[in-house]
Symmetry: C2
Subunit: 629 residues, 2 copies
């Protein structure tokens, strides 16, 4: 029997009540049938999350900036190994609890439409094609890429669809979009990941789209997902998004109706508790036994496909020893290196053996900056400061630069930074945001005034002043901006000798940055989002039209364009034909390099990319495969 | 002219208004007289605090547990070097601001009367003699010990007096004490530090004592401090404690009266702004010109004595290079080692080359645990986890053990800890408190329900369960409790093979602990406070009678007594006469060791201690000097 047939047989032995109870994320055990309890809610955005120690890779936006989908697929392979390793030990306790299972609520392939969105850091950026390619690579790596009859883990494409803030209104927000933007921008990556990587699952978003709740709306779910696309996987709600259907959207009258609406639309699993109302909905005739049974069969089909009931599933043998093992940490450092984006360099980088390095700024020694959100806990990690201390053959001075509340009575809080800069040959000035300034509504209370979003794209005022004061000292200065999103770096670009963008960079982030600053590797990241010059460049946050947004449609002049990213070498591209380019490394450094291909339809649009490693003086022919699109 | 005469001359050139303005901590510049602005409020409890990067030594309670006043004097010498180095660079900006000066609001020599007090961590423990000896050593080290005609920095004995919680009531609390307890317990260390170390300053406390506000009360300040003791230094208020005189204690009617009351009593300097009312008080005839002038002269005498107006002060040459230099870090590690208290050891310690070490618990990798409160920022540091990773020739596994809010839906939050323990040869289980659970009212919002105090001496319930679950795995387990105060460790003592007390241990704390766990050094710390078995052992928190408190008067049976602390060796003391003891190291380890001398008056009372280093097989004769008492 195949997995579907085994699921059908197993479900046939369940009572209707048992079937309904299986449709919430905390699925209870059914002991007489040998079914252990299982929690469907698990997180693995950039490493196994919220389940203790794990390899914490760079945040998704950082991995996108690597423009290296092959590497991301390897990362997915490693993350799913760690998820399996944890599941394998935890299942021995009987059932598994939340964050201990195999059905991962990742990747987040929403389009980073507006830099103010606090969760933009979770995405692969603003471009649908890049998002599709990176999302598909992650899904392949995580799910095992068809190498076994079993799936390694399930991935869930989220949030379906048209979901990108504002966080504070997400439970009742109605995103209004044109059919063109919907297809071209908001849905492209979902279809791509289903077509190219066989993603197991899709998660319905909190918001409504053009008046219909995303978790069950006819146009999105019935017409497009199951209809046009013929999606064969299962659909889950976001945590509590079924409740939003009546509470937030007023689309139904109560939770019973919401549960029926979502299930009937094809949302098989409710992360949350609304489906506890299914017995009532059934009693009222709002859902049929057949619909309930089909949903339950779908969920057990995937549990069978994950090998949960089979001894011969090779993934059962993945040992806990792999968790944060040296090989995984090495891959992590590689991804962190490739995710670093060099935005400006007047030649100061790589550093030329300074005797004294001043590392200055509030972002120099913050562990949270390595982690982003939806993160695991690393047991070994290096902040920027630590990374430089470990790697540099120099005296390393440090000033946090701006201090917390205890200095509120100090009128000049920049003195230590100034004094520290004065004493150094070169300054590494570490500014930016942090995960308490941008994030998700209700999670770890980020930026409570805006529920995790930002009101503007500026650096905090005290950091702006810090930059001015430190630069005024007159020492060569490298600015490192750490953030999960675009920050206005115009003044930094004007004042500093070099500007480096470090998205939340994972446990090895500080070491990877030191590798780049000190010239052990050449940077090769590219911006997966436009870096605008001003908040005034942006349309209203709640406007979901793509007009004047992202590199495709922005009419202004960005500070740093999508795709921008320097290496230490001098790379020349010479097109050979429409699908082939000859790449010459005419500079003095070996470097990784992403070749990008654009089309004009009529707006400029990424349609291909390939990352290569090219030695100094070498040349490589790169061909783009049309089937990748 | 001596300093007093120079001060008199300088002050004679000031207007009365100028003199009055000099009596608040933010003293303005008087340009025509060449007087720069100066802020008297500076912190250096265990390292230069709140002024950026500095060597962060173990918290005061930890340094007390070293029972090594010679070492503490060296620490004071180093801290004052760093304070001077910072002052020397900051004064070039014109004046110095808060936390950049030379008049340090340390040490805190209050008696740690009740373990629930959140600020007990700032003290040298519960014993007046130990507090006096350690306080005097710190003052000597900080002030330069008379080696120059200039003082290196000023120390301030705080909080004068009878100050030890509750934090939530401190601005209006009236501590009721007997004259015996006052003299024998609460004032002993103040007098000791004045007599033995010439402390520059005394700080008036927030509270009242037997009905009189401490900042200016007749009995404390006039009769005892200036009268009986003949104190020649200056007195400062606590931050805002003058305002408490009318607002909290209702002792005066308004701020004008409070300012007059405090100044007339001999409180020369107001940390705060109440003395801005002195012009009004003067106009009303509440203070005399002579009193104002004398206070101003006193303050300028100390500024002259600090060399602030002289080119030939050798302390002007201390270079910023010393801040957190290698020598200071080495001394820090030494102090951290000696502050570690081994409470129980069945022979498991030192560890015998385990292949795999599990480091488990919420206190294993928290930087805040190194810092305590009133701390600087270290640029190089090691948590417990990091210290063990760096030092151990073993695979080190890690689980934080109990997780924050994101795991609220997990019913069994201990699984990772259990799994991690199962995979190891030995478990280092790191539990305890942290500076957000015990601290000062209003500072960094610790434990808001109790304004920084604790309601009981128990470990958090989830940590208690964590201990049970981990021990149940059956692996050899070393419990490390990190806290600034007594915690009920009865269950840990019963269940674990060894118990180690780590008070907030400073930047090198993790490395020092690894030195001890792995046998690089033998532990030699002793408890400076009683470790009680239960909150029920304690009298009411607000009761300031010493009856049934501390090792001197406690009638019950403590789990670990004041002075308790094991080494890895076997030390035998043989008294030779009343003041001499022969110490034999009959064990296999070289070790530091504090010899304690008690008297019975009639209660047991520490009256001498001396720390020695004794090699395995060696013996040393230790003599106590009666003049130290």
């Amino acid at each position: 029997m195949n997995f579907a047939e085994r699921a059908k047989e197993l479900v046939s032995k369940m009572t209707l009540e048992e079937r309904m109870a299986q449709l919430c994320n905390k699925a209870p055990a059914i002991e007489r049938l040998g079914v252990p309890s299982y929690d469907w809610w698990n997180e693995a955005l950039h490493g196994v999350a919220r389940a203790g120690t794990a390899t914490v890779f760079p945040q998704a936006i950082a991995m996108a900036s690597s423009f290296n989908d092959d590497l991301l697929e390897q990362v997915g392979d490693v993350i799913s190994d760690e998820a399996r390793a944890k599941y394998n030990v935890y299942k021995k306790f009987g059932g598994t609890e939340i964050y201990q299972g195999l059905t991962e609520c990742a990747p987040n392939i929403n389009i980073f439409r507006d830099p103010r969105w606090g969760r933009g850091q979770e995405t692969f950026g603003e471009d649908p094609y890049l998002t599709g390619r990176m999302g598909a690579a992650y899904v392949r790596g995580m799910q095992g890429n068809g190498k076994s009859k079993y799936r390694k883990v399930d991935t869930t494409l989220k949030h379906f669809a048209v979901h990108s803030g504002p966080e504070g209104k997400r439970h009742g927000f109605n995103a209004v979009v044109s059919e063109k933007d919907l297809r071209e921008t908001y849905l492209y990556a979902f279809k791509y990941c289903i077509d190219h990587a066989d993603a197991a699952s899709v998660m319905g978003a909190y918001n409504a789209v053009n008046g219909e709740p995303a978790t069950g709306g006819k146009h999105l779910v019935e017409d497009i997902l199951y209809g046009e696309w013929g999606f064969q996987g299962y659909m889950v709600s976001d945590a509590g998004s079924v409740k939003d259907i009546h509470e937030g959207h007023k689309f139904t009258k109560n939770e019973v109706e919401s549960a029926a609406f979502a299930l009937n639309a094809g949302c098989h699993l409710n992360i949350g508790t609304s489906y506890r109302e299914l017995p009532q909905a059934y009693a009222m005739g709002l859902v049929s036994e057949e619909t309930i049974t089909r949903a339950c069969e779908k969920l057990f089909e995937t549990r069978f496909r994950l090998g949960m009931f089979d001894e011969d599933c090779e993934y059962n043998n993945i040992s806990y020893d792999c968790v944060e093992c040296d090989a995984h940490r090495a891959l992590n450092r590689q991804m962190a290196r490739e995710s670093i984006v060099l935005l400006k360099n007047d030649g100061i980088l790589p550093l030329k053996t300074p005797k004294t390095i001043a590392v200055i700024g509030p972002n120099a020694d913050r562990v949270s900056l390595l982690l982003g959100n939806y993160n695991g806990i690393p047991s070994r990690y290096a902040t920027i400061l630590r990374g430089i201390q470990e790697a540099a053959d120099a005296r390393v001075l440090y000033s946090a630069g701006v201090f917390p509340s205890t200095t509120s009575q100090m009128s000049d809080i920049y003195r230590e930074a100034v004094v520290t800069a004065e004493r150094a040959d070169v300054v590494i000035l570490c500014v930016g945001l942090n995960p308490s300034m941008e994030g998700e509504e209700g999670i770890d209370a980020p930026n409570s005034a805006n529920c995790g979003d930002r009101a503007d794209i500026e650096l905090p005022k005290r950091q702006q002043e810090l930059i001015r004061r430190v630069v005024a000292v007159g020492k060569p200065t490298v600015l490192v901006n750490v953030s999960g999103s675009c920050v206005n770096l115009c003044e930094a670009d004007r004042l500093c000798n070099a500007v480096v963008q470090l998205f939340y960079a994972g446990a090895e982030g500080g070491r990877a940055l030191a590798d780049v600053l000190l010239g052990k590797v050449s940077p090769s990241g590219r911006l997966p989002v436009t870096f605008y010059r001003s908040t005034d460049d942006l349309p209203p946050f709640e406007d979901y039209s793509m007009e004047n947004r992202t590199y495709k449609f922005f009419k202004g002049d960005p500070l740093y364009a999508f795709g921008h990213g320097l290496t230490y070498s001098n790379i020349i591209e010479t097109p050979l034909d429409e699908n082939t380019v000859e790449v010459f490394n005419e500079g003095p450094y070996d470097t990784a390099y992403s070749v990008l291909k654009y089309e004009y339809i009529p707006h400029k649009s990424l349609c291909g990319f390939k990352k290569i490693f090219i030695k100094a003086g070498d040349h490589i022919t790169v061909s783009f495969d049309e089937t990748e699109k």
